[in-house]
């Protein structure tokens, strides 16, 4: 049948010359696209439908709260002081309030991806039609695993995705309403809502990414995508440059298309097109000769470098200072999203020429221009015309100025005290007085680029500019290679690795994802990724982390993307793309259950999550997570049974889900082989935890990859890495090894004697059932238990 959901505005119809009077319009016609599987118990789940699964998870991984503030100030009954058992005017207590704040964060995060997806999809449907097929090529049949799993449909076209989003939108609104004053009185129920939002987030991200992949013909899971250029060294470009900052690639695509149409060649020929943050990933997925500057932490510095001749911002990971900073270097500024219109005049109705001339010579420093096609023309023309005028005007001080600026520094320490990661800015600036710029240069690598030190300094010391000057020579060399985001994992790859992952023979899938709020620079992410790829884990990555990983060379001068393959295989390093591509990482876990283990997906969330928790040794590492989006992504992984490790800043999310190895009851599962309740040891021990530093993270990664389903051989391999890392870092055997070894055969050969003697010492006994068929959920267990 031909009816397809259509999203439209009445206005667009009428402006297309159609009178609504004449039309019989079917909007939102949905058919059940294909009944490929029996329907599971929870298609399009409402808040309470997966509550029992959440409560199971939360029973083992209990919420652990660290309030970020003693007050609540969310309504005019407040502020309410919630310290030490006191309750607010609405009756809420502190743990519940923390759950509520987590829900709010996840709601904002999920809304951000969902609204991004909606905006993207509306536009793609308008451009390419609602019946644009979702076809990811012959190697991908399970096109949208999150969508199949949660919504229960197998979407065929872009139009189908519109309904998926409507469901997500409805549920977001349902959930956010619970943060109103006076709703939930239980932190567990708030956490269940946060988990709900996290799950929805992965659906929304999947919609956003699949829509752009099929419409813009991005790579469809190709493991061998090209290498693009990345790095701050791009400040050196001499050609006119358009810089895009944000997350929505639509505008970047329009620009590339405009250049193609107008014989302006590829990026790099006449004009440079460069991106910062996720939009950078996505532009290179469309056109690999576009360039990537780097993660969010480079925004202010790169703008100040003056390299950009037009700056376009859309939404999400953009600094509020972009307009102010652009003005400093006379870079014309175009805001294209109504999510961040910056109070600028809406020039949609102006002719292109008028906008361009206003921006170039007319004294208008910025405009709001939500018409993306027009914005593309304006950006290209503005960049071309403004480049000769501004001549890469920058605000980096001369070397002479450095000491003048530094001489005013009183070493008062306020800059440091206002730095979110407590960097010793004061020492670095002060030591300039003695002509020593090395400390500042070192800061350049660690700095988040937020500018808070500058706002605090009584002398308004331009700390970021000083850093850039101090690190100038190094910055110019900062040119690396990054493998273009490939999108989803192929079904064929899943078939190859499904068994070794589930049996534990591939020691784990480690996903380095998320933002650049790193405690000590991006280098640490690169080092961790390299370590685990070398250990032949499957390493996946996305977003800012994928960029940080690129910015590093090994002993032979190779960047990680040159050192490792792009295949989803042991020892592979897989860049899936921008942040919304994170859905392919959760998707891969889901596909393992589906393709390898033949578990049905359709509306069958609990079963699949139970499968992943018990069988898929995957762990996420969001080392620099800063945002509400990161909160919801991580929480979505958690509901699916994937543990997440955060860097130290992660404590400020104010909630962890922690297991306790000594709580045997919670680490007990149903064994479908014997029908018995079996203790499984603390595996995985936590669902989300923030660790203090990289060393702790490395050990934690190896440990959280363990799963109850690991075979003897698999467990031996995983324990090898765990013990090896542990010994390197702590100088001794893991203290919990006796909780993880089930039989002698599990013990890594290299450490056999040592481990055996430890086990003997602590009175370890071989487990009765070294191999089980584990289920945490009783419901799912019942489905698979054939005995009793």
């Amino acid at each position: 049948m031909e009816k397809r959901p259509v999203r439209f505005s009445l206005k667009s119809l009428e402006s297309a010359g159609l009178s609504a009077r004449d039309l019989e319009i079917i909007v939102g016609g949905i058919e059940i696209p294909e009944v490929w599987e029996p329907l599971g118990p929870t298609p399009m789940p409402k808040i309470f439908m997966l509550r029992s699964w959440d409560f199971k998870l939360l029973n083992r991984y209990k919420p652990f709260y660290m309030p970020f503030c003693d007050q609540c100030c969310l309504c005019t009954y407040g502020k309410c002081d919630l310290t030490r058992g006191k309750r607010g005017s609405c009756g809420i207590d502190m743990p519940t309030q923390q759950g509520r704040i987590v829900v709010l964060a996840c709601a904002i995060g999920t809304s951000t991806h969902t609204s991004h997806a909606r905006h993207m999809l509306d536009r793609l449907i308008e451009k390419f039609g609602a019946d644009t097929p979702i076809n990811l090529g012959s190697d991908i049949n399970v096109e949208m695993p999150n969508t199949r799993l949660v919504v229960g449909i197998k979407p065929k076209t872009l139009g189908d995705l519109s309904h998926v989003l409507s469901y997500v939108e409805e549920q977001i609104v349902q959930t956010i309403s619970t943060t109103h004053t006076g709703q939930e009185a239980s932190s567990l129920d708030y956490e269940s809502k946060a988990l709900h939002l996290g799950m929805l987030d992965h659906v929304a991200m999947e919609v956003a990414d699949i829509a752009q992949i099929v419409a813009f013909n991005f790579p469809k899971g190709d493991p061998n995508t090209p290498l693009s250029e990345i790095g701050m060294g791009l400040i050196d470009v001499i050609k006119p440059m358009i810089l895009l900052i944000g997350h929505n690639v639509s505008e970047g695509v329009e620009i590339i298309d405009y250049m193609r149409r107008n014989n302006l060649g590829k990026p790099g020929e006449i004009l440079e097109v460069a991106g910062l943050c996720c939009t950078a990933h996505d532009i290179t997925r469309y056109e690999s000769s576009a360039k990537i500057i780097g993660p969010i932490s480079h925004q202010i510095r790169f703008i100040r470098s003056g390299a950009a001749d037009t700056l376009i911002i859309d939404e999400q990971c953009i600094t509020n200072l972009s307009l102010i900073e652009a003005q400093k270097v006379k870079t014309p500024f175009i805001a294209v999203s109504d999510k961040a219109a910056y109070g600028l005049p809406d020039v949609s109705e102006w002719p292109v020429e008028k906008i361009v001339s206003s921006l170039t010579v007319g004294g208008l420093s910025g405009v709001f221009l939500p018409d993306l096609e027009k914005a593309a023309a304006v950006s290209v023309l503005t960049a071309l015309q403004t480049a000769p005028l501004r001549q890469k005007f920058k605000v980096i001080p001369d070397i002479k100025e450095l000491s003048t600026i530094a001489s005013k520094c009183t070493h008062c320490g306020r800059c440091r005290r206002n730095c979110p990661i407590d960097l010793p800015v004061d020492d670095a600036v002060y030591s300039l007085r003695l002509g020593d710029s090395s400390k500042l240069a070192m800061l350049h690598d660690l700095c988040l680029g937020c500018g808070r030190c500058e706002w605090e300094c009584p002398n308004h010391t331009p700390v970021l500019s000083l850093m850039m000057k101090a690190a100038e020579a190094k910055i110019k060399t900062e040119k690396y290679k990054i493998r273009v985001g490939r999108g989803p994992i192929l079904d064929t790859e899943i078939r190859e690795v499904g068994s070794p992952i589930v049996l534990g023979e591939i020691p784990g899938v480690v996903a380095f994802v998320g933002c650049a709020n790193y405690p000590e620079g991006g280098l640490e992410v690169a080092l961790m990724a390299r370590e685990f790829a070398r250990r032949r884990y499957i390493v996946t990555t996305s977003g800012c982390s994928a960029m940080s990983i690129a910015m590093y060379r090994n002993e032979e001068g190779l960047t990680p993307y040159e050192e490792f393959s792009g295949v989803f295989e042991a020892g592979g390093l897989v860049n899936v793309g921008s942040c919304v591509a994170n859905a392919h990482i959760s998707g891969a876990a889901i596909k393992i259950a589906n393709i390898f283990a033949r578990r049905p997906l359709r509306g069958n969330y609990e079963e699949i999550a139970d499968y992943v928790l018990n069988r898929v040794g995957a762990v996420g590492v969001a080392w620099g997570a800063y945002s509400q989006k990161a909160a919801s992504i991580a929480t979505g992984f958690n509901r699916l049974g994937v543990p997440v490790i955060l860097g130290p800043q992660g404590l400020k999310y104010r909630r962890m889900y922690l297991g306790r190895f000594e709580d045997k009851e919670s680490f007990t599962v149903y064994d479908a082989k014997t029908g018995r309740r079996v203790w499984i040891g603390p595996a995985p021990e936590h669902l989300i935890i923030s660790v203090e530093n990289r060393k702790e993270a490395m050990v934690m990664i190896a440990k959280l990859c363990l799963r109850p389903n690991d075979t003897t051989r698999g467990r031996m391999i995983k324990l090898t890495h765990y013990i090896d890392l542990y010994k390197k870092i702590y100088g001794k055997l893991p203290e919990d090894i006796h909780l993880l070894v089930r039989s002698e055969a599990d013990i890594p050969i290299t450490f056999k004697d040592e481990v055996l003697s430890y086990l003997e010492k602590v009175g370890w006994k071989p487990w009765e059932l070294p191999s089980i068929d584990p289920y945490y959920s009783e419901n799912v267990f019942k489905k698979y238990y054939r005995g009793g």
């Binding site: 709260y65 130290p648 400020k652 962890m656 870092i729 100088g731 001794k732």
Partner: protein, 177 residues
Amino acid sequence: MAVTPWQLGNIFGPRVAIQVKGDAAGRMIKAAKHPLLISGGNALKEMVGDKPYIEFIVELLKARSMPFIATGATYKDFVDRGLNPIKIMNAVEVVDRLRDSEWSIDGKDPHDLVVFAGLSYQYLSQLLSCIKHFATHLKTICLDRYYHPNADLSFPNLTEEQWIENLKLLLDNVKSR
């Protein structure tokens, strides 16, 4: 002017730490029945004069024997200095258990005082917040150079010299009889 935390944005209240000097801190630690010391990864990086902070912590532990945990993967560094941390745990994992008023790291009497040293400012701030709200049976004291409003007792923000002096005073008081 009210005391301000080290990190300017890091305001807490109405319950904030009492500011103490080294002598009072020392007496407090000495008098505690069953204190626990949690030392973090910054103990290696932060300098007390020309020695890393960990040297002071080691000296304190030698002067006042108490169970201690080396977080931030500093276990080896204590062992190298002849001390054996009681367990290897992440600081979050310890604080999680500290909420149980019956729990102690050594399975003996519950702790009455937790001494923190060498964790990064914001990381520790959050952990202290958890204890302040949810482990009200515990007192906490922080020996770092910077004022921590979420503790029960903390040094004020100190210059390096003042800090050295206070740490010395602390040791003197712990050692005195």
